[in-house]
């Protein structure tokens, strides 16, 4: 099968064989919000922030293959409300004190909250986890109170670094990432691992030590534009 077309919010776009809705949308400069999906990592379809309606059915755009003639709804008030609820729940499951978090301004969760106009997260009860920070590794620290269980670090460590530094512990909303070992110092994690790089963990859970607030707030990734602005910029060009 050769290239085909389908529509997202009424705009006709071209997709290549084998592309997901998100892949095709990215190429066309249409941003679909996402948290667990990351370029260079296999799709997981876990967070559901990328939910779109394809011919009226809710699907995750990061895993759903594009198909000829599909009618996809992306930026509708209904879908964005659903996404906002999901993001709100992530905030409530963790312990997120943005003003004192070194990820602030670079954090995809925080940026997504801004994009989705999350203003007062009061709908759900806070779980307020109080897990100790694992700072046992000389160059890396793990504050899992901020983990959103996106699994990006697990896939990055396994598939890219060939290691398996991270795994999940706990079930349901209590699930979070932990080092595969007594603590981080008992793994073969290195600060140069892809899994540890700034682009993999979307939040302030995996911390490269001694960087902290070296980059001023105001000069950080999402101070330059809403999350997704780089993808939408392709379309404006």
């Amino acid at each position: 099968m050769s290239d085909f077309t389908f529509t997202i919010d009424g705009t006709e776009i071209t997709a290549k064989e084998g592309q997901t809705i998100m892949d095709a949308a990215d190429d066309a400069g249409i941003y679909v919000p996402r948290l667990c999906d990351h370029e260079g990592l296999r799709h997981q379809g876990g967070c559901r922030v990328c939910t779109v309606k394809a011919d009226g059915r809710s699907v995750s755009a990061c895993t759903q293959p594009a198909a000829p003639g599909l009618t996809v709804e992306n930026e509708t008030p209904h879908i964005n409300k659903l996404r906002r609820d999901l993001v709100e729940m992530l905030f409530h499951e963790g312990n997120h004190l943005c003003p004192i978090c070194e990820a602030s301004g670079n954090c995809e969760l925080q940026a997504m909250a801004y994009r989705l106009d999350m203003t007062a997260p009061t709908k759900f009860p806070y779980l307020e986890p109080c897990r100790p920070v694992d700072a046992s590794h000389p160059d890396i620290a793990l504050d899992t109170n901020r983990c959103i269980s996106c699994g990006r670090c697990i896939r990055a460590s396994q598939d890219v670094d060939g290691k398996g530094v991270f795994g999940y512990v706990g079930r349901g909303i209590h699930r979070h990432v932990a080092a595969n070992g007594e603590d981080l110092s008992h793994t073969d994690a290195e600060v140069t691992d892809f899994a540890i790089s700034s682009e993999v963990c979307p939040v302030g859970c995996i911390i490269r030590k001694r960087i902290g607030f070296a980059t001023p707030i105001g000069e950080r990734e999402f101070d330059k534009g809403l999350i997704g602005h780089k993808i939408s910029a392709k379309r404006d060009d």
């Binding site: 004192i100 700072a135 902290g212 607030f213």
Partner: protein
């Protein structure tokens, strides 16, 4: 025979926080004791344990919405020490100093115009609805306008150096994360001459008030005490950002001098009393009864040998040459505060002309240590941050002595002094009496939100409680 009574004034209005005053009368209606209760407890020293060292200067600002910059800088200085940095690159030190002078300036201006000026202009006995900044603006629009613009200038300096007006993130262990762009410098330079003129006018207002009311000032909750602050190592000059510790007795005798501040625990001890969460520090060798001391603007005027900016130095000389009671009088803090505003403006001007502010060497590194102590002269006085950090970079110990804690004993004594003069034997609590108790506390500019985080005006509630704890009379004043 009359029952022993307890007069309760709670919470104290216009103190930035939530305090409670009880005045304990004996059976004959004489003031037995006065206590400023600090009943709230934030548990910060525990909360910070386990956090990573470079987060600390950012986290500690949440301690207090009143002078976050002071906590930010004191913690950063402690972390400098932990990171083995004894000397910052000039750009970093000067940016931090600029931030600090901006902070002290805006804090003092806030206190003077917004919190204290209504008392100056309208008197202690004025009704509550008159004793606020809006009335100041209505009656003296030019003064009100300057108050707002001077505060804004200080806040803009903070924003340019710290990143935000309230909770900045610029000071990092071993340095700073930005310099001052030329455009910002030029914008400040444009206004600096006006700021200096206004600072001189405000100083005159505070000085004239103090001298015209020398009798009141000299007697209002006034008593001698020891004083403590940092002073510059080389010459004992006023240095709000860095120096060694000096404590002087009220007669000027040295108690200790040029003591490196990382040895503060060799000279200070903290006492605990059951009715307050706030500790009572004292100078160890003098003991708890006579070893208490005061910190803050007036304390600094007493401890330092000079001020290294000419106009503020001349102003201090005049204050120190005034009659002996004044230099010990709690209300003279207002005068001292305005001298410091002038000093800050002079320092800001000096720094703005320094090309180091545009330097790009922002951070130094050194050999890690396990312990760090950072001390600074905050607007309200000496501020001590003390941490231990383990080999994983996690905080294991934290001790803070904030200015309001240093002044704890002094505040209690000030309240008692007012109570003795005003309340003893009088069956009725007048508005003026209540106001005076507040004024005495407010003169220390306590940052009680260090313990509470409560902000804004609160209604004043006065209760007469007998010894058994029964409310026998009560009086409520709305905010």
């Amino acid at each position: 025979m009359a029952e022993p009574r307890l007069i309760e004034i709670s919470p104290v209005t216009r103190v930035e926080g939530h305090g409670k005053v009880t005045i304990h009368l004996d059976a004959d209606g004489r003031v037995d004791e006065a206590r400023l209760h600090i009943v709230e407890f934030r548990g910060f020293e525990r909360f910070i344990r386990g956090r990573l060292l470079w987060e600390v200067p950012v986290i500690v600002q949440r301690l207090c919405g009143i002078c976050p910059v002071s906590h930010h800088l004191a913690a950063a200085k402690a972390m400098d020490m932990i990171c083995g940095v004894d000397e910052l690159p000039p750009t970093a030190e000067k940016m931090r100093r600029l931030m600090h002078y901006g902070q002290v300036m805006q804090s003092h201006v806030l206190h003077f115009f917004h919190l204290a000026a209504p008392d100056f202009l309208f008197g202690f006995g004025a009704p509550a609805e008159k004793r606020n900044i809006f009335e100041v603006i209505r009656e003296q629009p030019e003064l009100g306008r300057r108050a707002i613009l001077m505060r804004k200038f200080g806040q803009d300096i903070i924003e340019a150096t710290a990143g935000k007006k309230i909770h900045g993130t610029a000071a990092i262990p071993g340095g700073i994360n930005r310099n001052l762009p030329i455009e910002k410098r030029d914008a400040f330079l444009k206004d600096i001459a006006e700021m200096e003129d206004w600072a001189l006018d405000a100083l005159k207002l505070a000085r004239d008030y103090t001298l015209e009311h020398a009798e009141l000032v000299g007697h209002f909750a006034s008593f001698p005490s020891h004083y403590m602050s940092l002073v510059r190592p080389s010459d004992g000059a006023l240095d709000l950002y860095h120096g060694n510790l000096r404590a002087l007795a009220s007669n000027g005798d040295t108690i200790f001098d040029q003591l490196p501040y990382d040895r503060y625990h060799e000279v200070l001890v903290e006492d605990v009393r059951s009715w307050s969460y706030m500790k009572f520090p004292f100078i160890e060798k003098l003991g708890p009864l006579t070893g208490w001391y005061r910190v803050g603007p007036l304390a600094r005027m007493n401890t330092v040998d000079l001020i290294d900016t000419p106009r503020a130095n001349a102003a201090r000389d005049e204050l120190m040459a005034s009659d002996g009671d004044i230099t010990q009088a709690v209300l003279a803090n207002h005068w001292a505060r305005m001298i410091e505003v002038l000093h800050c403006v002079e320092k800001i001007r000096e720094l703005l002309h320094d090309p180091d502010l545009q330097g790009t060497d922002l951070k130094a590194t050194g050999e890690r240590r396990e312990e760090g102590i950072g001390v600074i002269e905050a607007p309200r006085g000496n501020l001590i941050h003390h941490y231990q950090v383990d080999e994983n970079d996690q905080v294991t110990y934290c001790n803070l002595i904030v200015s309001t804690t240093h002044n704890n004993e002094g505040m209690n004594r000030a309240v008692k002094d007012v109570a003795v003069q005003q309340l003893s034997g009088q069956p009725e609590i007048t508005e003026t009496m209540l106001n005076q108790v507040e004024v005495a506390i407010r003169a220390y500019d306590p940052c009680l939100s260090c313990a509470t985080h409560a902000l804004g005006q609160m209604p004043l509630q006065v209760e007469l409680i007998d010894a058994a704890g029964t409310v026998i009379d009560s009086r409520v004043r709305d905010a």
